[in-house]
Every structure is written in structure tokens, then in C-alpha cells.
Amino acid sequence: MVEFLQFTLSGVSFGMIYAAVALSLVLIWRGTRLLNYAQGGMAMITTYVAIEVVYRTGSYWAGFVVALAAGAVLGALCQVTIIRPTMNKPPLNGVIVTIGLLTLLEGLAGVFFGGQFRSFPTAFSVRGLRIGGTPLGVSRYDIFVAASVLVATLALAVAFRYTSAGLRMRAAAFNATIARLSGIRVARVLTVGWALAGLLGALAGVLVSPSTFLYPNSMDTIFVFGFTAAVIGGLDSPVGAVTGGLLLGLALSYAGGYLPSGANLVPVVALGILVVVLMVRPDGLFSATKVRRV
């Protein structure tokens, strides 16, 4: 029972990180119908920025804030400079550009920061919390991870639902033509979408790096799990992305904990879940009803 609780809580903690990556992919997919393969690479770069800031200032929070800001700037910059020219071109062009960007970012990280593993500090203790004498299997830091993704997600959801800027983003995502004819500057809205995605990715990078170490490829696995979570959720649905992230986090945590030599099986389990979900619901668990094809 205690074991189960431990696996569950640790699954939630990792699941929230996958959820953040999934959400960043969904934001871009909804706006531009493009899968951003460089999302993990961008998060890796901003985490390097964070580690340099932490190193120079001695403040975790300075690094945290700078990483998020850098994520937003990097996202917007990429959209304006290299993604915008691929729009209204065959979809493959955008895909190739983001893969190229990933290669470029990982290469640059190696040049400027070196290839060695670097440890990333945490904001809170990573010592397991206990109730009475029973270890819970989570630390204060795990709680911070889950809470910060939750706060970011809720803030986004509220902004999308209740603000004028949120309505502009949804309108532009659902029907760019109508949005433009109504006076929404869709190009600008898409840039904002990339900035938000960059910010979420940066958040995921900073949060996960204490557990994975930081190196030029360190976000590759996280990106793949985040992508899996997004596909499970339906790629179009922010709620689906978060749910997909949590489901995947839990499933991988149980698999790693209960299966014999489970840690090695984790990627296979992730693939298995993806295949099963796509067989049962090819558009993902939370795909919107196909209202537009009426």
C-alpha cells in the first residue's frame, strides 16, 4: 500500500512535467498544425541559460524566472524568423525546419556549454517527506514541480477562456480565415502562441533537470514522453494534454516500480500505451467532436 502511494505520487510529479511539454506541443499544433520537434531542444537551451544565471547570481529563483522569460523570447523569435516563412507551404517544410532547429540547438549547446552532464539545483529539499514514520516517496521539490505546472496550466486555461487575448488565440486556432476577416492579427497571435509554448517548455526543462542532469540531449526523452502524452490526449486538446501527461506519468511510474527490471521497460510501456490508445481512439482520448466536418 505504501509502495503504491509512493509510485502514485512520483508518477504525478513526473506526469506533470510530461503534461507541461504536451501542453506546449498542443499550443503550437492548434495554432499552426505543426509539431515542434525542437520543443525539447529549446527547453534544453533555456535550462542552460538558467544554470548559468544560478551559477552567477547564486539565486535559484533568478535562474527560474530568466529561464521562463528566455523560453518565451526564444519561442517568439523562432516563430518570427524560421517558422513564419514555412507557413502556406507544404506541411513537411515546417517539420524539417523544426528538426533542423533541434539539431542546431543541440549542436550549439555542445559548442558553448560542453557535452558533460551537469547537475541542476533544486528550489526545495529532495528528501522524501514522511507521515509519522512512513515515507511518502515524494519530496517538497516534487510537490513544487506538480504545483507549478498546475498553476501554469490553470492560469493558461483561465486566460484562454475568459480574456479577450484568449478568445483571439482560440478563434485564430479554429479558423484563421474568419479570424483575419474579423480583424484579428493572426500572425501576431501565432507568435504569442509560440512564446507561451516556449515558456511552458522552459518550465518543464527547469523542473525536470534536477532528476535527469543537464546535457545537450537531456530533453530528448522528456520530449518523446511529452509528445506521447499529447497524442494520447488528442493533440488538439489542452485538457487532453494534461490528462495524457498524468496518465503516462502514473503508468510509467507503476511499470518502473512493479515490473521486473521495470526501469528498462519504461520506454516500451510508453510505446505500448500509445499504440493501444491510438488503436481504440485514433484521434486521442480528448479529440474534439468533428463539428467542423458537418
Binding site: S164, L167, R168, R170, A171, F174, N175, T177, I178, A179, R180, L181, S182, G183, I184, R185, V186, A288, T289, V291, R292, V294
Partner: protein, 254 residues
């Protein structure tokens, strides 16, 4: 060939609100509009008629900036707007209602209407916005009853109502309507045509009405323009066009 004035003749009122001059537009190697000129009088209804592929929709798309004209001019009250993008055109006063009852089905009725106010300057107050929204709901009671429902749940007629209401919230001087009666039941079609008449007579909006239903469009229009293969083949009073049997048979199919 016909008694109607040709494209070179006097084609409309002396002080047009919207003037399209020698417009050339196309897609890739195809010329869809070939030196099309149209003048639409203030608060008048100008019907643009013609068969499939005549260039009617392309004309609206070129006027609203959805496609960039290769040559020619688009003027609103004398101001040259040629080459502006759709976001700028709607701010300048030209609202385009595309064909196909183009609501955003994933948004609620109220959200669809709010999208219509996105062209407003940033400075306008919240009170102004909610007053405009209330006015829209007053004018279209069926929409008020469904304001929190997804637009996907609306009938065809209600959708058409919603897209027109959305375009009106941009407070346009000129309204470009692409086949507003397409796919609607005859009774609903008549309601939409009534609405178009009221918009021009009571609200002073200049209307460019693209229709395949030429008979219905000429019945309410002041002026008509007939396109064929991207060229203007006739432009005259609506009554004159409707009375021209040869032209009707040849281009309008009734």
C-alpha cells in the same frame, strides 16, 4: 448582343462608396478576374451575378484583401485601400462574410459575436462593447436564446444570422456577402434577404451581394453586375437586368 450597358459604359452612381477599378486577380497561372470595375453607391445593394467560376467569390476575396490583386484599385470613399490585408480592410470599414455560414463552431454564440469586435480600437470601453453585444442580441432574438451554446448547435439559418451579426459588430461601411442564401430553406432565405434590405435602407450600409440565385438577388438589389469568366459582361439597374430576357437566358439561367 444585349440592350444593357457594357463594361465601358457608365456603371453606377456618381459618388460610389466602394469603387473597384480595373481589378486583375488570380491563382497561380489562372486569371480569375480580368479588369473588373464596379462602383457601389452608398447604402445601395449591388448584386454580383454569374455562373460558377465567373469570379464572384474571387472578386470579394480581392476586395477584402484575402488575395492580393495583381493590378487595379480598391477605393472606399475615395481612399485607396488596394493591397491591404484583411485585418486592415475590416478596420477601414469593409467586412466580408464568406460563403458557407462560416461560424466558428467550437466557440459559443456569444464568443463568435465577440470575435466580430476584434477590429475595434483598443481604447473603446467595456461598456461600449457590451452595449453593442446587447444590441446584436436584440436584433437577433434567436441568437440571444442560445448565447452560451456552441455555434455548432445552430441551424443553417441561425448560423447565417450569426455570421451577419458578427460582421455587423465590426460596424462596417461596406458589407461583402458571399451567397448568404446558399443551402437555406426558402422561408429562411426570404428572411435573410429581408435582413439585407433593412441593413441597407435602415442602417445605411453599402452591400455587395454575391448570389447564384439571380432572381432573388435582383429582386432586392438596386444595381446589378454580371460576371462571366472573370469579366464584367453587363452592369445596370437591377430592374433593367431582370427585364433583359436575352441576358437572363444567356448568363443567369432564369
Amino acid at each position: 448582343m444585349s440592350s444593357v450597358t457594357g463594361p465601358e459604359g457608365p456603371a453606377g452612381p456618381a459618388t460610389p462608396a466602394l469603387a473597384v477599378e480595373e481589378l486583375v486577380a488570380g491563382y497561380g497561372g489562372v486569371i480569375a478576374l480580368d479588369r473588373v470595375s464596379i462602383s457601389a453607391g452608398t447604402a445601395a445593394i449591388t448584386a454580383v451575378l454569374g455562373a460558377n467560376g465567373a469570379g464572384k467569390t474571387t472578386l470579394l476575396r480581392a476586395v477584402s484583401g484575402m488575395i492580393r490583386p495583381r493590378r487595379g484599385r480598391v477605393r472606399l470613399d475615395g481612399t485607396d485601400l488596394t493591397g491591404r490585408n484583411p485585418e486592415q480592410m475590416v478596420r477601414a470599414g469593409i467586412a466580408h462574410v464568406p460563403e458557407g455560414q462560416a461560424v466558428i463552431p467550437e466557440l459559443t454564440v456569444e464568443e463568435n459575436l465577440r470575435v466580430g469586435m476584434m477590429s475595434w480600437p483598443r481604447g473603446r470601453s467595456r461598456a461600449d462593447r457590451s452595449a453593442a453585444l446587447d444590441e446584436a442580441f436584440e436584433r437577433f432574438p434567436p441568437l440571444a436564446a442560445r448565447r452560451r451554446k456552441l455555434a455548432a448547435a445552430l441551424s443553417g439559418g441561425e448560423r447565417q444570422m450569426l455570421v451577419i451579426a458578427r460582421a455587423l459588430l465590426a460596424q462596417p461601411r461596406v458589407l461583402l456577402l458571399d451567397e448568404p442564401s446558399l443551402g437555406l430553406a426558402p422561408r429562411v432565405m426570404a428572411q435573410v434577404m429581408d435582413l439585407v434590405v433593412r441593413l441597407s435602407r435602415e442602417h445605411g450600409i453599402t452591400i455587395i451581394l454575391v448570389e447564384q440565385n439571380a432572381r432573388g438577388a435582383l429582386a432586392i438589389a438596386d444595381h446589378g453586375v454580371v460576371l462571366n469568366l472573370g469579366r464584367v459582361v453587363a452592369a445596370a439597374d437591377a430592374a433593367t437586368l431582370a427585364a433583359d430576357v436575352a441576358l437572363r437566358h444567356h448568363y443567369l439561367g432564369f
